[in-house]
C-alpha cells in the first residue's frame, strides 16, 4: 500500500483550517444585556463576587480574546447562558427576597465545596479562585442575612376542620404528578436538622426501602426509595437553650425512580406548602431548580442532603 504523501497531509491541513475558520464564523458571541437591578452587598463581598462570579453570572461578562475562539467559544457561551439562567447579579430583583437569600447560601456552599467557580473556568482565568479568607468573608456575610436569625413568633396554627375537609376532597398533586401522601408518618426518622438559612427545623423520614439501603451501606439508593422532609419554623430559644418547632411550613418529597425521573438524577421532587399543602412551583420547571442544587452539592449522597453520614 502506498504511504500517504505530502499532498495528503497538505489537504488534511487545509480541511482542518477550513473547519477551524468555519467554526469561527459560526462562533457564538457573548452579549451583555443592560444591567437592570444589580445586587447590593457590602463592598468586600461585592469585590469577591465581581472577580469570581461576574464573568458568567452577570451582564458584565469580560470575555478574553481566547474565550472568543471556537470551539472554546461554544463552551464559554454555554456556561454563561447556563449561569445567567441560574442567577444573574445584574437582574437580581427578578428573585423574591427569600430566594435571593437562598441563592447566596447556595453560592457560599458551591464555593465551599469547590464546585464553583468551575474548574475549567479557573484554569483559563487563574485570578478567579476564591481564597479561604475570602470564603470566610462570604460566610460571615450570609450569617448577617435576615433569615439567619428568624424566629417564629406567630401563634401556632393547628390543622383546622376546614383543612381536613379540603384534604378529604382533593389530594394535592405536584406539577410533575407526585401526589401528597401522609404515609410517611409510619416511616422511620433518618435525620433531624436545624437549618440556619431561612430559620427552620426539620424531621426527615425514609421509607423501608431507603432505611434498608442505609443499613446496608448501599449507594446509590434503589428505585422505590422515598424521603419526606417536614419543615417547621423555630420558636424563640428558652432559658435552658431549647428551641421548639413553631408553625408548619412545608413537606418536601423525593421519590427514586431512575427511569421515570432520569432528567432529575433519578429522583422525583415535590414540595407542598402550608397546611393547605399547596404544590410549589409555577411550572413543572420547578423540579429542575431542586435538582440543580442537589446535583451540584450532594452527588456523593446520591443527591440526598439529609442522610446520616460520618
Amino acid at each position: 500500500m502506498k504511504k500517504p504523501g505530502l499532498t495528503f497531509y497538505k489537504s488534511a491541513a487545509i480541511v482542518l483550517i477550513i473547519i477551524f475558520v468555519a467554526l469561527q464564523i459560526g462562533s457564538p458571541a457573548i452579549k451583555n444585556p443592560p444591567v437592570t437591578s444589580e445586587i447590593v452587598v457590602p463592598k468586600e463581598v461585592k469585590q469577591i463576587l465581581e472577580r469570581a462570579c461576574y464573568d458568567c453570572h452577570s451582564n458584565e461578562a469580560k470575555v478574553e480574546w481566547f474565550d472568543r475562539i471556537a470551539p472554546a467559544s461554544f463552551l464559554v457561551a454555554h456556561d454563561v447562558n447556563e449561569a445567567r439562567s441560574r442567577f444573574n447579579f445584574s437582574e437580581w430583583d427578578r428573585n423574591p427576597p427569600a430566594v435571593q437569600e437562598l441563592l447566596l447560601w447556595e453560592m457560599v456552599n458551591a464555593i465551599d465545596q469547590q464546585k464553583m467557580p468551575l474548574q475549567r473556568y479557573q484554569l483559563a482565568h487563574p485570578g478567579s479562585k476564591v481564597s479561604a479568607s475570602e470564603l470566610t468573608v462570604l460566610k460571615q456575610y450570609v450569617n448577617t442575612l435576615p433569615g439567619r436569625h428568624k424566629v417564629d413568633t406567630a401563634r401556632i396554627v393547628a390543622r383546622s376542620l376546614t383543612n381536613d375537609k379540603f384534604l378529604t376532597q382533593k389530594t394535592p398533586v405536584s406539577l410533575n404528578g407526585i401526589p401528597y401522601s401522609a404515609e410517611y408518618k409510619n416511616w422511620k426518622i433518618i435525620s433531624v436538622t436545624d437549618k440556619f438559612d431561612g430559620g427552620s427545623m426539620r424531621i426527615v423520614y425514609g421509607n423501608d426501602v431507603l432505611v434498608k439501603a442505609l443499613k446496608n451501606h448501599q449507594l446509590p439508593f434503589p428505585d422505590g426509595s422515598r424521603v419526606v422532609k417536614v419543615v417547621w419554623g423555630k420558636q424563640a430559644e428558652d432559658k435552658d437553650g431549647n428551641v421548639l418547632p413553631g408553625n408548619f411550613q412545608n413537606a418536601q418529597f423525593m421519590i427514586k425512580d431512575s427511569k421515570k425521573y432520569s432528567s432529575t438524577e433519578g429522583w422525583g421532587f415535590a414540595k407542598f406548602d402550608g397546611l393547605d399543602l399547596k404544590p410549589a412551583g409555577k411550572t413543572v420547571l420547578f423540579e429542575q431548580t431542586c435538582a440543580n442544587c442537589h446535583r451540584l452539592l450532594a452527588p456523593e449522597n446520591d443527591f440526598v442532603f439529609n442522610i446520616p453520614t460520618k
Binding site: R120, V157, D194, I203, L214, N242, V243, P308, T309
Partner: protein
C-alpha cells in the same frame, strides 16, 4: 498560541473527566434510632448543649400532646432520643444529628386513686462522654411530659 491550545485540551480533558468524578459518602446507619411503634411528637434543638432530639410517644402520649389541656393519662409512654449536633457535610448552614447521646423513657402509670406515678430511664449513647452530667430525673419527666405535639398537615 501553542500554550493556549494545550490549555484548551487540558481544560476539555478535565471537563470530560469531571463527569466521572463521584465519590460516595460514608453512610452512618448507627445514628438511626428505631422507635418501634411510637409516633413522632416533635423535634427539639438545644444549641447550648449542642444537641438535637426527637420526642416519640405511644398513641396515648401523642393524644395527650395534641390536646390543648395536656392532661396526663396513665399508659402514656414517651421516648426522648438525643443526638449530638454536627455541621451537615453537604451544606454549610445546617446542623444535623450525629451520634446518639442519650435515650430517655418515661412511662406514666397509676400510683393509686389519687395520682400518677412515673417510671424514668436514662441510657447513654456513643456520644455521651464519661464526664458528662446526667440531667435531673424530675426535671426531665416534667420536660418530656409537658411537650405539645408539633403541627402536622
Amino acid at each position: 498560541m501553542k500554550s493556549t491550545i494545550s490549555l484548551y485540551i487540558t481544560a476539555l480533558a478535565l471537563f470530560v473527566m469531571s463527569c466521572n468524578d463521584r465519590n460516595t459518602a460514608d453512610l452512618a446507619p448507627e445514628y438511626l434510632y428505631d422507635a418501634g411503634n411510637e409516633k413522632v411528637i416533635k423535634s427539639i434543638i438545644n444549641n447550648k448543649k449542642g444537641t438535637i432530639a426527637m420526642l416519640y410517644g405511644n398513641d396515648i402520649a401523642l393524644q395527650t400532646a395534641q390536646d390543648s389541656l395536656l392532661k396526663l393519662s396513665p399508659g402514656a409512654q414517651y421516648t426522648l432520643v438525643t443526638w449530638k449536633q454536627k455541621p451537615m457535610p453537604q451544606w454549610y448552614g445546617t446542623n444535623i444529628n450525629a451520634e446518639i447521646y442519650s435515650v430517655e423513657h418515661v412511662n406514666v402509670a397509676h400510683r393509686n386513686v389519687s395520682g400518677l406515678a412515673f417510671d424514668y430511664d436514662f441510657k447513654t449513647g456513643e456520644g455521651f462522654k464519661p464526664g458528662d452530667a446526667r440531667p435531673g430525673k424530675d426535671q426531665q419527666i416534667e420536660f418530656i411530659t409537658s411537650q405539645r405535639a408539633a403541627v402536622f398537615p
